[in-house]
Structures are given as C-alpha cells and as structure tokens.
Symmetry: none
Subunit: 117 residues, 2 copies
DNA sequence: AGTGTATTTAACATATTGGTTAAATATAGA
DNA sequence: TCTATATTTAACCAATATGTTAAATACACT
C-alpha cells in the first residue's frame, strides 16, 4: 500500500520532534548536529527523522564537506493548507452546523458566508 | 510518551480512509455502516478508524437506537490551519529556494552519488 | 596513508498501526 | 423472551515507526 502524498506529509508532521526541526529550519540552513542538539535522542534518531522529512519533500539537503545542511522546503505544506482550508467553514460555524447547513440548502445564507482563497 | 494534541491530530489525518470519512461527514451525520460502504475494509476496521478520529476530537458520536451516527467536529483542524499558516511565506518563496538548491547542485561533485532506497 | 569530525547504515528491540475473523454488546420490535 | 440489525471488543497477525548502540562512510587536513 503506497501511501499517497498527502498521507505521507501528514505522517511526517505527526511528530513533535520533526515539527521542531522544521521550525528550526525556518530560520536558516542547519547541520544535523545543530539540529540534534536540543533533543534528548541520539544522532541516528535525528538522522532518521530527517530522512522522513526528506522523503516527504519537506526538506532538502545539501553537502558542504562532511556536513549535510538541511533546508526547509515548504511546498508540501501548501497542500496541507489547501486540504484543511476546505474545512474552515466547519470550524468557523461549528456552534451550529445544522443551522448553517439548512441555510445553505436554501441557498440564501449570507451572514455566515466566508469567502476563501 | 503521550503525544501532544497537534501530533494526535496530524496522525489521525495521515490516513486516506480517515480523511475520506471526514469528507463524507462534512455533508451530514452518517452511520457507521454507511461510512463503511465505500471502503474495501471490514466493519471493525472502520470502527477503529472512527475511534482514532474520535480520540483526536475530529468527530463526535451520537446514539440513535442501535446506530452510532458520527458528526464532524472541525475544531482540531483549526489548530492544523494555524500551524501550517506559519509556513505560508516559505512556500510562497519556494521558487527562490528551489532555484538556490539547483544552483548548489550544479556546483557539486557527483562522483560519490549513491542510489537512494 | 592516517586522523578527526559529521553523518549514515546495520542490527536489533519494542510499540504502534491497521487489518482480519469470531464473539460480545446494545437496541428495536414481534 | 427471541430475533434481527448495528456496532464494538477480543484475539491475533504483519508491517511500520522509533529508539538504541556499534560500525561504516564521507570529507578535510596533515
């Protein structure tokens, strides 16, 4: 079962260490050692997290001597944003979904309308 | 290790079956059997997916006779949206990043290139 | 060639995930 | 109470994920 791209991205993000790594990379290119420093896990563990992120297309890695600097590639996050955006109206209006739903069926609800994208 | 809320939400979304279930629930409240129908997996498997979604706070379940109708709760998606929104500027500038990356690749010695996976 | 530093791979252990089938539970209705 | 329907739980299995330590690899420098 080859997981689809969106699933791979979501799975990569479902780990606080990996999200922290991405946050760190938002600032600048960082080496593996530097990335590993704040975490209480071994270097190989970090290396594996990086592999997951790389496979998900969320980072790219360069080569500078023996360093493999990592850089953020936010492209896949765009798909996440697009996916979740489809549900915005449900959390915006979650206090009374049924009401909204019925109004939409009637094609006349304006006060809750939310233009997106 | 109790995973944080954001990780739980991302993990719940990292499965195409579960995302399809959420999409279906966007329209209306649906019973487990109706939800299961389009999928080629057993009912217990669907039941377990629902438990994952429920645990992530993405659905709530009612009780109507022997049915357990499921309803979307989009609240956690709001956190996902907020998280991903922090990276919008990075995918907006992703062309530049790709450009930089390609330039660096060009300058690199390829003879040690290994095949991946 | 030999050393130091950075990183990855190998080998392994364990936990979680996602699926199965069979049995159990909950409710409605005759 | 008995039966039918809807759903969950139990027991199990295979695959994947995440961590470890030890060894291998890549590169710069002498």
């Amino acid at each position: 079962m080859t997981p689809d791209r969106l699933s791979t991205t979501f799975a990569a993000l479902a780990d606080p260490t990996r999200r922290a790594i991405l946050a760190r990379l938002a600032d600048s290119e960082v080496s593996v050692q530097e990335l590993a420093e704040p975490f209480d896990i071994s270097l190989p563990a970090v290396s594996r997290h990086l592999k997951v992120l790389e496979h998900a297309g969320l980072i790219v890695r360069g080569r500078k001597a023996q360093w493999r600097p990592c850089r953020l590639q936010a492209g896949p996050l765009k798909d996440i944003a697009a996916w979740v955006e489809e549900y915005r109206r449900y959390w915006d209006e979650s206090f009374d979904r049924l009401d909204i739903y019925l109004n939409e069926l009637q094609g006349k609800d304006k006060k809750h309308e939310r233009k997106k994208k």
